[in-house]
Symmetry: C2
Subunit: 236 residues, 2 copies
């Protein structure tokens, strides 16, 4: 499907890690796209009309006029619609390998992000502490995946795959949250393989130019007067 | 891949709507499988070893010795690993159609179930009321999908697809929760198309024998001395 007439437009917001995931995927695939920065306080008609179900949440990818919403869905869509372009995020002819990757992708959003959200926004100190423990345990679990596979990436091959992009898109905002709230992220002492993975991932040509800096994210969060907000959980 | 030597074992618990989803999918595909009922208070070594990341949550599908966990992942896995058997849950050669289905599948778990959970387990009456409103809005949204497509099923063809199974697996437990807590489900006056869809879905040969009855689910919930628990949210 990847032809010269493909029109790809990404509606995003620079600080959203979910938008970063899509940008990384488009770049890994070597696809040209138009990036449209949205003001989330004053969303465009195009954004509201493209994702009415979720009130105009970013990211939205518009491919030849048709919108695709939710970062994890967009990543799979790009992988399938442009299967001829760049490396595959999911192993194309390996249903079991795909299922394993989808399981860990769900773990990143369903377990790790959920725990971090509880750690930051729990109603009581006890709840927050429980969230913090769960978040640390989730990072330990991901560390174990890298340890067991002995690969540089979660894709278990020489380049990043779906799980790498799902987790990798969050690296900037997780580090910013650590800076603001001290919530554990890619600690070389407790999770050395994850720490090395984050360095490697963020240095990739497809990643470095679109990964927001910690400093800019912290300034943004402070300007929003929501210093305790986990910027990794605002949109998806 | 669907050959006569395939070995499929499903570790489940009869009241879990997430297990019901998998059973429906296996039956829609016409696949033979061994069903193993688990005692969740005393999980088998096989279950704990097959889904260690989530502490032995059901369902787990074991295919030729290899475990697949998380109902939405299992459904996609069955569809891909047994693409030659029975109808496809996701349109095989239509990346956009697949993305639309994945979006609505995520909506069922991420928006509808989350709202129902808030309605039932919110900390305050206000929070619960907010959850109730969100759950009603989510049902309205799903009603709109059926209205717009003018199809009997969410798959927009003559048989059920991924979204039908994701939502359909929940029907019994949603009705049981309504009986116990009055939380809106498939109301013929407010959401007539959804109500008709639920009737049609539950009458399918692949569904009727594995859909637990409302009465049995209510008795089970009462016996568990958790009458306010949403049995549709206990496992996935």
């Amino acid at each position: 499907m990847a032809g010269c007439r493909e029109e790809l437009k990404l509606l995003g917001m620079w600080a959203s890690p979910f938008v970063v995931r899509v940008q990384i995927t488009l770049r890994l695939k070597g696809l040209s796209y138009e990036y449209v920065e949205e003001d989330l306080q004053n969303k465009s008609e195009l954004l509201l009309g493209s994702n009415p179900v979720h009130g105009g949440k970013v990211p939205v990818l518009i491919h030849n006029g048709k919108p695709v919403c939710e970062s994890s869905v967009i990543l799979q869509y790009i992988d399938e619609a442009f299967s001829g372009a760049g490396p595959s995020l999911l192993p194309a002819d390996d249903p079991y390998g795909r299922a394993v990757a989808l399981f860990w992708a769900a773990f990143v959003d369903g377990t790790l992000l959920k725990a971090r959200s509880q750690a930051l926004r729990g109603e009581t100190g006890e709840e927050k502490e429980e969230g913090r423990k769960k978040a640390a345990a989730a990072m330990e679990t991901l560390e174990g995946v890298l340890r067991e596979s002995e690969a540089k990436f979660f894709s278990a091959r020489d380049g990043p795959g779906l799980v790498d992009v799902m987790l990798g898109g969050l690296v900037g905002s997780m580090r910013a949250t650590e800076e603001m709230c001290g919530l554990q992220t890619f600690d070389p002492t407790t999770t050395p393989l994850l720490a090395a993975w984050a360095e490697l991932f963020c240095a990739l040509d497809a990643v470095a130019p679109v990964m927001p800096s910690v400093q800019r994210l912290v300034e943004y969060a402070e300007a929003m007067q929501q210093p305790r907000t986990d910027v990794s959980s605002t949109t998806n």
